[in-house]
Amino acid sequence: MTSWNLERRMLVAALVWLLFAWGLGGTALVLVFRGAVVDRFDSKLEALAAGLAEQLERTADGEVVPVRAHPDFGEPGTGWYWRIDAAGQRSMSMPSGWLETLELSVPSTPVDWQFDNVDGPNNQPLRAISILTQAADGTRATLAVLLDRREIDREITTFTSLLAASALLLGLVLLAGIVLLARFALAPLRRLRADLVEVEAGRLEAVPENFPSDILPVAEAINRVLERDQALTAWARKSAGNLAHTLKTELALLRQGARGLPDGAPLVAQADRIAGIVDHHLARATSGAGAGRRSRADTAKVVSAVAHGLERLFAQRELAIHVDIAHAPDFRGEVQDLEEIVGNLMENACRHARSQVRATALADGGRLLLIVEDNGSGLTQRQREEATKRGERLDEKGPGAGLGLAIVNDLAELYDGALSLADSALGGLEARVELPAVTDRHRGSD
């Protein structure tokens, strides 16, 4: 039950209530109708009995019989019978052992009419009336009239069928109304859900506050939580950044001091290693991948900006940095993380390239594929495995060098992506990173 959505809950509750109402109302109606039908049937019995009572005469044999009676009395299969007890003799509409021995209630006075339900000769249900009356000559007689009461059942069955059909039709109309009502009433909640999906996808900063008055407080509360979440995230990132920057400034001093010592080389190396660990954990701590929200980043713009930055950083090397970004899909994630991934990959390539670096960004099966190649000396299989390990450095080309691939690997994993290393057609290393892309479906929902 807890997993049912509101619409289903409303429909099921309405259906249960309708079934209950139908059951109660239907039963009451059938009972009332049955009472009316039985009353009418009894009235018929009474009329027949009264009619026969007026016709009673004593025969020469001493039996009391009606002079005239409805032709159905005495006809086999009609279910119509009469029986008269008078002056110690019993007369019947037809000779029958069953009728002869049938026990019926005995009225005590002329106004004490007794009714009985009995089974007929073929077990057909019969209803009997017994009255105390007099024959024309004044002989006291007990008259019993029996009729087939299946007539009552037939009428009740017909009525019940009609009632059920009407109730079903009414129920369907009511259910359709309830569905429409539920849809209409729950429309703001569905919109709220859709807005939250947009917020999660990064296409909306906050839930629009244009809801009915009973939903609006929920939207406002969600926005307050989102704002607090963003503020906390920003504060945590800033704190992590400040701590990292303070540590690294002190490390720079430590490193400088160690440079002047005769045996300072291990200290310098250790300072570099600590700085690398700080960088690594700072990249993870400030990544937006774990925040649950997914914004979008312009891949082509980021690759171009990084290439431009690297041209300045490596200006003395006169590297040829080519970018192929004509078919680059947008990255589904935070722009800072894409900058970190692209920046580290391309910086790593620039450090090791002899003269050429090539960065390609393209769509591959709904994913963003980044390929960065260089024409350096490349890596052996073992070096490739080491390169992506946390905090591992493959070269000693200065502080911060050689850590980029491990950071990229970590960030890619945070985005359910993957980094793979291979030989490049340019002669050096080829690094491929697969990342989530903004697909046409995402674009369409923007």
């Binding site: 303070t246 001093l253 990084v306 930055g309 300045r312 910086e347 502080p399 911060g400």
Partner: protein
Amino acid sequence: MRILVCEDQPDLRRALCRTLEVSGFAVDQAEDGMEALKYGLAEPYDAIVLDLGLPQIDGMSVLHRWRDEGCETPVLILTARSRWSDKLAGFNAGADDYVVKPFEMDEVVLRLRALIRRSAGQASAVLTCGPVQLYTSEGRIVDNGMPVDLTPQEFRIFAYLMHHANRVISRQTLAAHVYDRYSDRESNVIDVLISRIRRKLSINIIHTIRGQGYRLGPPRA
């Protein structure tokens, strides 16, 4: 060549300034963003080393203000912020180079020399005038294959003239690029230093332009 170092951490700032002075630069120091902004706009530095985490005004804001005010001095950002988003923000703000802490002092010196050379429009790392060559990366002068031994002040004057060869440079401009804020800048001292440099070279390539200053160029026929 004159450098402004903007760094709030005193020990690191002193170490950096000492290294730069030993490498032949005149160095001014700014310990917060306000000083950095003021000095950067007031003095004609050849390059600026800028920390991003400065007190009062952060380094990125200082850089924006310099560029907005028309200051085109090459800026090398020296920071602990190693994220690429910070690097790209730095380049977008107008930085010319970016070095992450901890760093090699020698790398900073090399990068500053390269920045100064490129900003002067010199593509080659070796500047040549006749038989005299200045190896900008190493801060070394060679005359007819023989090393020339100049004092730091002489070196700064000669290096500035080599970077701006064939251009007339006034004594005031030379003084502004050779001395730090606290040095006495008497123009006749420049004349004395120029005379000493001439004596140490095998050929006169520093020509006096009467009433204007000096021009470094090939020897006159």
